[in-house]
Amino acid sequence: MSYNMTNVLGILFANTHEGSVPELSAKRTMASIPFGGRFRMVDFLLSGMSNSGMSKVGIITRTNYQSLLDHIGSARPWDLARNDGGLTLLTPYGRNNQDTGLFKGKLDALYSCLSYIRHTDCEYTVLSDCDLVINPDFTHLVDEHIASGADITAVCHTAEYTEEETREAACFRVENGRVTKVAIDRAMAGERTMDLNIYVMKTSLLISLVDDLVSLGKYSFSRDVLQEKCGELNIGVYEFNGFYRRICDLESYYEANMALLCHDNLSKLVNSERPIYTKDRADAPAKYGFDSSVSNSLIANGCVIEGVVENSILFRGVKVEKGAVIKNSILMQDTVVGRDSRVSNIITDKNVTIGDGLTVSSSENCPIYIAKGRTL
């Protein structure tokens, strides 16, 4: 059977897992959380889909999606502004005179956009969340899925996990390449095969699962499909062994950003063979002043640095004034740190201003978060 990647539909869930980082998602979706100096979380999966030749991608949004709409725009940066297909934002869809409550899980979310899914007329569908920092090759995934003959293939990663990491995740028992048992949100440290929440299956199977299960009042993909039907359906796994990070709380967000200070990690995640695209802002290059001292940091265009920066991530347009010292911190877009202020182990959201001569610090591995637009 012949197929090509334009015949594979991508569906991204913009809001799932955002409860795990309530600070960062207070006013935005999981998908639009800023990451790595200039990106947003959605850029990784969306670029992966575009780089893999997929030409139809729907993003299902639930709440707080204004920042996402702004970021996506016409979807041109991801080369998904197409006459036919391209990127479609699937906002909550209420019907007249009916219960228009927001969807509860993936199945009822997919149910609300079944007409879109049918209309795209793709043979396969890839589902993914936006909580991964990853540069996935979906071509390889779909090839493996077809070759294996599985009904559904789930992307997973087998490693030693802490109790914290498995608290809000699904883990598989895999026998002969097939998922035979699924444990959901059960905190268990040890070697686990963790579900990365990326799945591929035939679109026809997806549609029939959604139709059947939603009519029974079910809504959870992991419980009602993976867990309940792993005996009935052949659910295969695809081990992803490249660089990735999953954002499951503020600490893991901090760690995942800091991981990019390792040049090797950064070049695995963002490289010219498989670029990660994002919305550009036409900032000038970063400027280093006469007295600046910077080491082991990731610095985006538009920054103006006149102070000291160590082990930190500076997003676009951050200003570090004379005498200021920044250590072990993540400063998002347009943060200003005033003269002689000392900042360590903090995460500032966009447009935070820290005045002159202040000290803001926290202990290692326990970063303080400062909300968007605040002035200290």
Binding site: D280, Y288, S295
Partner: protein, 400 residues
């Protein structure tokens, strides 16, 4: 379809820029990198779009590949428009034959049919040679207020530099009464910036007449402007007093980059009210490594800096390895400076590699005879091998 535009811009981008030597061997001058993430043409294109001019013809001839690719459909400058937008205009063949562009006036003449598609009242003629921010709509307002047929942007230059420029003589009201191209003994300091606004009907008339004249060199400065003055047309000088830099020579290109690093910089690239757009790839932010020392410099996305960088402009995707030293230099996109190499007072072209312990350029104070000092230049796609030296003022266009 109503395609009418009040004003269209024609950007002369076909020049070789022969005084940039190895740096323009493979690209036209307007495509030469500047300021870390820009190419020279970003300035006139961004000025157009910020001035509300949404129809721009870009006339290309010399080495157009990089330029064509860079401009693309103009989206980076918001010039991908349903009506108008940016159009690349190379020389073309007609029923009566084919002709290269022979001079600036001839290039516009050959594209009169492009201009006429938009039925404009005014045409702005620009070049892709200068770094500046200018609101052409202000100049157009001046042109209309004066009832001019042609308005020429001028800037005051020091008298000792005036012989490099076309020099205007104007009355107090701005009306021009004489014009001398590159005078040996300049008597005025009003230099033409090579930016013209014409009332279209007048432009067309003089371009056609100029074509009829077999002896003409078909150049705006040498033919069109003198002809307008000779016929008593209303020509006005529009004074500009902002930052404007010709980057047509190695020294001026290096100077213009170094000027960006000054404390009180004259050209503010961080001013969001007049952004300079550029077409960039999607690189990650740059990494400043554990061993890096960096000051008084500009660094662009996609770089990996682990050596010492002082007073330099570093373009996108550059690598400076641990133990390498880069000072008072301009590194073009993708350049690599390996361990132990020194690059000082130099311009390194795109994707060139300076190998271990090689030495490019020298500080002026280390050279006894000042005439022997100058900026060292390594052209595009060149390797300077391990331990090799590029002397000050030397320009290399082959690997050594």
């Amino acid at each position: 379809m109503n395609n009418k535009k009040e004003c269209v811009a024609m950007l002369l981008a076909g020049g070789q820029g022969s005084r940039l030597y190895a740096l323009t061997k493979k690209v036209a001058k307007p495509a030469v990198p500047y300021g870390g993430k820009y190419r020279i043409i970003d300035f006139p294109l961004s000025n157009c779009v910020n001035s509300g001019i949404d129809t721009v013809g870009v006339l290309t001839q010399y080495q157009p590949l990089v330029l064509n690719d860079y401009i693309g459909n103009g989206q980076a400058w918001n010039l991908d428009r349903v009506h108008g937008g940016v159009h690349i205009l190379p020389p073309y063949q007609t029923a009566s034959g084919a002709q290269w562009y022979e001079g600036t006036a001839n290039a516009i003449y050959q594209n009169l049919s492009f201009i006429e598609r938009y039925d404009p009242e005014y045409v702005v003629i620009l070049s892709g040679d200068h770094i500046y921010k200018m609101d052409y709509s202000e100049m157009l307002r001046f042109h209309k207020e004066k009832g001019a047929e042609c308005t020429i942007a001028v800037i005051d230059v020091p008298i000792h530099e005036a012989s490099r420029f076309g020099i205007m003589f104007a009355h107090d009201d701005g009306s021009v009464y004489d014009f001398v191209e590159k005078p040996k003994e300049p008597k005025s300091t009003l230099a033409s910036m090579g930016i013209y606004i014409f009332s279209y009907k007048t432009l067309k008339k003089y371009l056609i007449e100029n074509e009829m004249d077999a002896s003409a060199t078909k150049d705006f400065g040498k033919n069109i402007i003198p002809a307008l003055l000779e016929h008593g047309e209303k020509v006005f000088a529009y004074r500009f007093d902002g930052y404007w830099k010709d980057v047509g020579t190695i020294d001026s290109l290096w100077d213009a980059n170094m000027e960006l690093l000054a404390v009180n910089v004259d050209l503010d690239l961080y001013d969001t009210s007049w952004r300079i757009y550029s077409n960039n790839d999607s690189a990650a932010p740059h990494i400043i490594g554990k061993n890096a020392k960096i000051q008084s410099s500009m660094v662009t996305n996609g770089c990996y800096i682990d050596g010492t960088v002082d007073t330099s402009v570093i373009s996108g995707g550059v690598t400076v390895e641990e133990g390498a030293l880069v000072q008072y230099s301009v590194l073009f996109p993708g350049a690599v400076v390996k361990k132990g190499a020194v690059v000082e007072y130099a311009i390194v072209g795109e994707n060139s590699v300076i190998c271990e312990n090689a030495h490019v350029g020298a500080a002026p104070e280390t050279i006894e005879n000042k005439d022997e000092w100058g900026v060292a230049v390594v052209g595009q796609d060149i390797t300077v091998s391990e331990g090799a030296a590029v002397l000050p003022k030397q320009i290399i266009s082959e690997s050594i």
